[in-house]
């Protein structure tokens, strides 16, 4: 069924898996067919999947891209839910609520994307829809890098960093690119985003972050997935997942 919200609404439904394939070590790319979800989906939004196998609550995944009547997600196997999901096959169905969350705002100017690990997912989708800029993508290990060279076709300069082999993190190099950019978009581990928020605040750059927190319903009802902001706890699922960096209260991170 479709449910209405102020920003376009979402579907509670099941959809067909068109393909699932490995994208890197323990990381899978899944293509899900649902024309209406795809047409509503905006960068920064996520899908909330019931993985089955006796799990009790859904699992959130950012939308990695959309093409025609499909959306794609990319996920790392970390526990029971993602393990079950990784065993799904082409033609199976997946139970999902989507698209959810506020998504990234549309900002004019030259963007700098800073992705850490699976944070690449929402930024990949966003970068397909913006002006040309710089895309920095860092992972811990080499076998975790998922191929995003295709972004060069959108005119972005793509910088891929691997901490294990290069000994550097995205936060070590982002300042080199900051002056040439008008706005920063970031997603990844909380500690990384905290650092990025500090850098942007200091340099007075606009910055938007996609935040993660353990989530319940995904539709704003249970108040589980909160992040602390300067105006109190906000729900990642409906007030976010994207927050302006200056609104987040990082004291507890």
């Amino acid at each position: 069924m479709k449910l209405k919200t102020e920003n376009g609404g979402f579907f509670v439904t099941s959809a067909e898996i068109l393909s699932i394939k490995p994208a890197a070590e323990k990381i899978f790319l899944m293509e899900i067919k649902h024309e209406k979800i795809s047409s509503l989906a905006r960068p920064g939004q996520f899908v909330h999947i019931y993985c089955g196998g006796g799990t009790s609550i859904r699992r959130p995944f950012s939308i990695f891209s959309k093409t025609g009547d499909c959306i794609e997600i990319i996920f790392r196997v970390v526990g029971r839910g993602t393990e079950i999901l990784s065993r799904k096959r082409k033609g199976d169905s997946v139970d999902l609520i989507a698209p959810l969350g506020n998504g990234f705002p549309v900002v004019c100017g030259r963007p700098l994307f800073v992705a850490g690990g699976l944070g690449v997912a929402p930024l990949h989708f966003l970068s397909l829809a913006t002006a040309a800029g710089v895309f920095i993508y860092g992972t811990k290990r080499k076998n975790e890098i998922i191929p995003i060279e295709s972004l060069k076709a959108s005119g972005h300069k793509v910088v891929i960093l691997c901490e294990e082999t290069e000994g550097k993190k995205v936060t070590d190099i982002m300042e080199e690119y900051l002056n040439d950019c008008d706005v920063v978009f970031s997603a990844g581990p909380a500690k990384m985003m905290k650092k990025i928020a500090e850098i942007c605040l200091k340099k007075k750059k606009k910055c938007f972050l996609s935040m993660e927190e353990r989530m319940g319903c995904g539709i704003g009802l249970c108040r589980s997935c909160v992040v602390k902001t300067k105006t109190g706890y906000k729900r990642v699922c409906v007030d976010g997942p994207v927050f302006p960096a200056e609104t987040v209260d990082w004291k507890d991170v």
Binding site: I57, L221, V227, Y233
Partner: protein
């Protein structure tokens, strides 16, 4: 497709109720709320509460542990912004409340009683840095007795399945409570990244505790009972009906399947809808 039922002096259009805390303030998705016989809004306190710092929700095999900590917008905001919208939905409106002392309970009842069909007293929230009220039945009974005098609207007591539910139910019924909801979440602990968190357990893991509690309550008293604990399919409803429950409250299953009504399907042993 369901018959109307009488519960706590109310006539509700079907026996399914959305649990407090699992369905927001009850009005957010009218198309979902309408399907319920009644909707219980999130527990409201006199002052706004910001709740606990995250993480607030954990999955364990067969259940969910939450430590939301009664985050809510406070009585004034609720009455002004949320209640008018909730009342527009075609379902029976119940509001859950929690007071830290008699004055607060009285203020909550005074402000809300004319606007709602019934009030649910949350006597069993495990996520407060205080003792759960029902652990002290005599004190609980005294509060209820005093609150009873403040309103003619039905008062429903939310208790849990582990703190002498039968004795507490009989006592509260004698002091004027119109119905019992059993159960709130059950106090539990969970570890994450080397830290231990205290929270409340819900879901199919608690069903057997709640079933047992309801059988015991029913043996001692004919107070109307709303069963709440791990309900996900027809078999659960059937089991609770046989144990003596009158209506059925859907809790954490709504986090997974907010559109679960009409409850037509069953759930396999792993918890998947079949």
């Amino acid at each position: 497709m369901y018959d109307t039922v009488r519960f706590a002096g109310l006539e509700i259009k079907n026996p399914f109720i959305a649990a407090s805390g699992c369905f927001g303030y009850g009005w957010e998705f009218p198309a979902l709320s309408e399907k319920f016989g009644a909707v219980v809004a999130k527990t409201i306190t006199v002052k706004p509460r910001e709740g606990n710092s995250p993480p607030r929700i954990f999955e364990v095999p067969g259940g969910v542990i939450n430590r939301v900590g009664l985050q809510n917008c406070g009585l004034k905001n609720f009455a002004e912004k949320h209640l008018p919208r909730l009342k527009k939905i075609g379902t029976t409106v119940i509001v859950s409340i929690f007071g830290e002392n008699f004055r607060q309970w009285a203020e909550l009842i005074g402000t809300l009683e004319k606007e709602v069909a019934a009030l649910e007293l949350n006597l069993s929230c495990p996520n407060l840095n205080k003792q759960i009220l029902t652990k002290n039945p005599e004190k609980c009974g005294n509060i209820v007795e005093k609150l009873r005098k403040l309103t003619d609207k039905p008062l429903i007591a939310k208790i849990n399945a582990v703190d002498s539910p039968a004795a507490v139910s009989s006592l509260l019924s004698d002091r004027g409570i119109d119905a019992i909801v059993c159960s709130n979440t059950i106090p539990a602990r969970v570890e994450l990244n080397g830290r231990i968190y205290k929270g409340g357990l819900s879901g199919r893991l608690i069903k057997n505790f709640v079933l047992k509690a309801i059988r015991e309550i029913r043996k001692k008293s004919d107070v109307p009972i709303a069963a709440c604990g791990g309900i996900r399919g027809l078999k659960d409803v059937d089991d609770y009906r046989k144990a003596g429950a009158d209506v059925f409250v859907l809790g954490s299953v709504l986090l997974r399947q907010p559109d679960i009504l009409p409850l037509e399907k069953n759930i396999d042993s792993e918890g998947d809808i079949v």
